[in-house]
Amino acid sequence: MKLYAQHGYGEGEKINQGLQKGIISGAVYSAKDITPDRLNNRLSEIAASSPSAARIFDPQYYVSLIGSDPNIRLGKLEEYPYFSIRRRSQLESNQLIADEIRKVIEFQISLPVTAIISPNILISRSFDSVKAVIAKNFIRQAKGIYEQFSDNRPLYVTLAVSREALIDFTELEAFLNDVTLLNSPPDGFYLLVGARSIEARTDLYHADIIANWMLLNYSLKINGYQIINGYSDLISPFLGAVGGDIGCTGWWSNLRIFSMDRFAPEATGGRLPVQRYLSTKLLNRITFYELGALRRIIPNVANGLPMDEEYEGEPERAIEVLQSWEALSSLLAIITASGDSSKNLEKCAEAIKSAEDLYTSIKARYRLDPKSDDTHLEPLQEGMNLFKKRAEI
């Protein structure tokens, strides 16, 4: 599994440096955070400086249905020619869906992207809903419309699902049975799983969500699709273990969890969060000062990777994301090395067990910040077990 940068506000040199260091393989640009002209320039620059890097653009069409909210923050999205605010009832028309897909694809055709992302809405409550039917129409029509452009880049269709919808296994099963049987299949899916808020980490660190997110990857891969998991961050290794091709993560917390919260008004007056260190051994991030303290008593908490040197004291903010990408890439390489789901899952189980043991050692000698603790391990373990049961592995 490869790792892409999930682009957002404040790119600076982060993506360039990540590509130069070889710790990310591409980037997914976000319409909200870059103007169309600047996007074109950035993609061209990356194509020139890192020709092998994947360059993808998320059109963020899923915001269309919430665009009429008076408090919405659309950012640069309004400057994109395909973007309009829509009501659900309008999208019950197949013709309008076809027109919307055409506009989004047409915009991307002239961009130096390496793959095209077809739009979709967010399935917000249930797979057994009007929105799910609309989403299936977006999926079904995409390839046929794309073929009219005679372009040979791969086509990925957005599949954006809220955790409320994903949590129901029976409905997911019926939905999967439909979307794995398409007359005109795309090359792959750009998969987004939405939490209620970017602060609600437990929304996604929930056994059913992890199991069903893994099942989506597993099923789509068996049926020959490529899968890009947007905003998958530290869940990526578990998705890669069962077939996911790409995981993505960015530099702010709202680029590590997908939520429509990104388009809500920002709370003002907050302090910048303390820089964190992604420990592959803990499958979690800890603060830089926790790392400093733990290194002296439990050195194994550090990854032993080149970016560790930058954490001797308080690291610069730009370093944090590079360390995160380096650690996650390394973890992905370890977990998904065999290419065999059963063996990869064994690696996942080993990683969880090692993290549990390490946390046990830490607890005896040091008190961690609540965000750095081990509450993520149980849902990961249970989610993996549930997935294995549902996938009969």
Binding site: E173, N177, L182, Y218, N223
Partner: protein, 156 residues
């Protein structure tokens, strides 16, 4: 291309070997085959099961709402079951002492043992493919026939 015809009774008795290089086997008896787009499904009047041989029914055919979503992956399941039985010398779920209900219950609830248990001399890819085609959830069976044939030719 998605097929609109479901055979519904693939089993060893309905597969005949030919002495032709270009066509080694032929599938017989399309007596209860139907087109998804034309023909309504019927029940067997005697036991209310869908028509077919119950030992080879795919798990989804035993679900109450199966008529809404039945597709060719049920045939893929039965084809894999047929190959499994041929290779292993036994049906992976039906037992000789079972009555109808016990067998149907196994079809819905039990995962078959991997074909590897009986035939570890076969290619791991072939074994993996047969095991995968026997999954309970149709979406977990490979549905892209061309891709499947290509991979089988490449790996066996």
């Amino acid at each position: 291309m998605v097929s609109h015809v479901i055979h519904r009774d693939i089993k060893p008795d309905n597969v005949m070997k030919l002495n032709r290089k270009d066509r080694s086997y032929v599938l017989l008896d399309l007596g209860i085959a139907f087109s998804i787009v034309d023909t309504p499904l019927t029940f067997n009047a005697s036991n209310r099961l869908p028509p077919g041989t119950y030992r080879y029914l795919a798990p989804e055919m035993l679900q109450p709402g199966f008529r809404e979503s039945l597709d060719f992956r049920s045939d893929m399941y039965a084809a894999a079951l047929t190959v499994y039985e041929y290779a292993a010398g036994q049906h992976p779920l039906a037992k000789s002492k079972d009555d109808l209900i016990a067998t149907l219950s196994r079809i819905v609830r039990e995962s078959p043992k991997s074909l590897r248990v009986y035939r570890d001399d076969l290619s791991p890819f072939l074994i993996g493919t047969i095991d995968q085609m026997l999954k309970k959830i149709p979406a977990l069976r490979p549905s892209n026939i061309n891709m499947l044939i290509g991979k089988l030719e490449e790996n066996t």
